[in-house]
Assembly symmetry: C2
Homo-oligomer: 320 residues x 2
């Protein structure tokens, strides 16, 4: 059994942390305003794979109250990564490892800056879940993770020891979380970006869901053109995403239930959007590899504008 | 004095046609449902340069009732150009010339297809006016026209005789309309597109006005990047728009009053948008010149999607 901390107990941290606790691991949850509710009533997970309730949960409102843990799961939105410099040191001892389960490219670098090179894993998560109330998670679908060492912005940071990665993979797998280790975390990140960049971006900018985009000729053409650009950018950055991955993602999306992207939910709820992680960092990486990526740049700039002008957007939409 | 027909008596046709009639020309207006109102009450123009009222106006609900004219001003929205095959023959005699005062690139080709090569002029209009009621136009600002021969999709159609162009320029100028003849209509069209493509497109997609776009760092960067792409496209198409025109337009827009683009007004009023004229045709021209124009393509596809999905967009906007 291992000792985990979960920093950020939302839809993702609550789901994975809940499964780890259910499997018998000692899991300590940072959950801010929900902490007292959860200490009293426990953590509830309604899942496609079976509902469960954990009556006794280590829940904390402040990281200073938490014990030092072997593994710290970073499950905040990446828009809050500036807080990691305060959040990580009390809970992650000198021997601990961080597991960054965030969306986007190089989201691990804020963690690495605190924790140090060679001690950070990144996970690409494919999860549909929501937090529906205090200490109450609803898992809708999927949940698999691709986990690998984060090798830094330069790609040359030392790897996390194989035994450590294997132990995390084993803990998660035995807890019922489909997980695979990968030696190419960046490749996995880019493959996921190939979906996130068009669908997260367009769902906010065009105020729509995946099925509407795919059901419109211009929407489909636009999604494909953006995916093509991300594929070229990935290859320019040394990550060999094959062209065939575009058709795979499009077919996969056609078969999905209509889906509101997390970015659209953030936008509608007036929360900050993960624009830097999903658009800004890939753009920067592409630019450093000598590629302009004009479509990603247009989406990035449109989202930045909307984030700063969303109130006007909503009120005018109502008037129209 | 000349005999003009105005096909489409909206904000533009009503304003220019009204000034020509006021100057003593015989002007015949096709104005559909407004015709009986205008026959009874006349045409009213509230203008920055002085209000006026024309009590006796030749107003028609159907083109078949109109006499053959020397000059036919095409002032419909280009989204209705398919109707020109019916509308032009009764009013434009064998000797007549057409003056296409529409927005966008190669909007004249639908007129040329009916009227024939060498008999079509195109005008780039810089006009802020609205139709505020039946037979009632409000002119807000500007109004100048650059008028030139339309030389066809290939650029090789014969020119309109210089004497004819000069006569139109003289008629308009004496009626108080600032007008200049140009031997390079396509160059003028591209220069106007360099403003229309970013501002018409983004005002609809981001649901905003010019001043908000220019007041935001990402909005400004995006406008500039799109202008740069249009400038390169114009040059690829053989029209030497100088790079300095970008700074000129940005400075000019900074000094403008906050302005709702015509495309945004169309979008909010559920009218068809001039997507083909302003985005589709320039894209096609750039592509034929070997250029991809990814930013214009993104805006084009986003607008096409929004036009077909605008009801959802508005209702969801209200919910957010």
């Amino acid at each position: 059994m291992s000792r985990y901390a979960v920093i950020g107990t939302g839809a993702l941290g609550g789901y994975y942390g809940g499964l780890l606790a259910k499997a018998g691991h000692e899991v300590h949850f940072l959950m801010r305003s929900d902490a007292s509710h959860v200490r009293q009533f426990g953590l509830r997970v309604d899942s496609k794979h079976g509902d469960f309730h954990l009556p006794a949960v280590h829940a904390y409102a402040a990281v200073e109250e938490m014990p030092v843990c072997e593994f710290v799961i970073v499950a905040l939105k990446s828009t809050h990564n500036a807080a990691l410099a305060q959040l990580l040191p009390p809970v992650l001892g000198k021997e601990g490892y961080a597991i960054v389960l965030q969306n986007g490219l190089h989201v691990e670098s804020a963690t690495e800056a605190v924790v140090g090179a060679g001690r950070v894993m990144g996970g690409c998560c494919f999860l549909c879940s929501n937090k529906v109330g205090p200490g109450h998670i609803r898992h809708l679908d999927y949940g698999n993770i691709l986990l690998g060492s984060y090798r830094g912005l330069s790609g040359t940071s030392p790897e996390v020891p194989v035994a450590v990665l294997d132990r995390v993979v084993g803990d998660f797998a035995k807890a019922g979380i489909p997980i695979e280790g990968t030696s190419r975390l960046q490749l996995a990140r880019w493959k996921k970006l190939m979906w996130n960049i068009p669908f997260n971006g367009l769902s906010v900018i065009l105020n729509t869901a995946t099925d509407r985009l795919m059901g419109d000729a211009a929407g489909r053409a636009l999604v494909r053109a953006i995916m093509e650009e991300v594929q070229v950018a990935a290859n320019a950055c040394g990550e060999p995403v094959p062209v065939s991955h575009i058709d795979y993602l499009i077919e996969h999306t056609d078969q999905m239930v209509p889906y509101d992207s997390s970015m659209r939910l953030d936008y509608l709820a007036q929360r900050p959007m993960e624009i830097e992680a999903i658009f800004g960092n890939p753009l920067k990486a592409a630019r450093e590899a000598g590629m302009a990526a004009p479509r990603i740049q247009v989406l990035h700039d449109q989202l930045k504008f909307l984030e700063r002008n969303r109130l006007e957007g909503n009120s005018k939409g109502a008037a129209g």
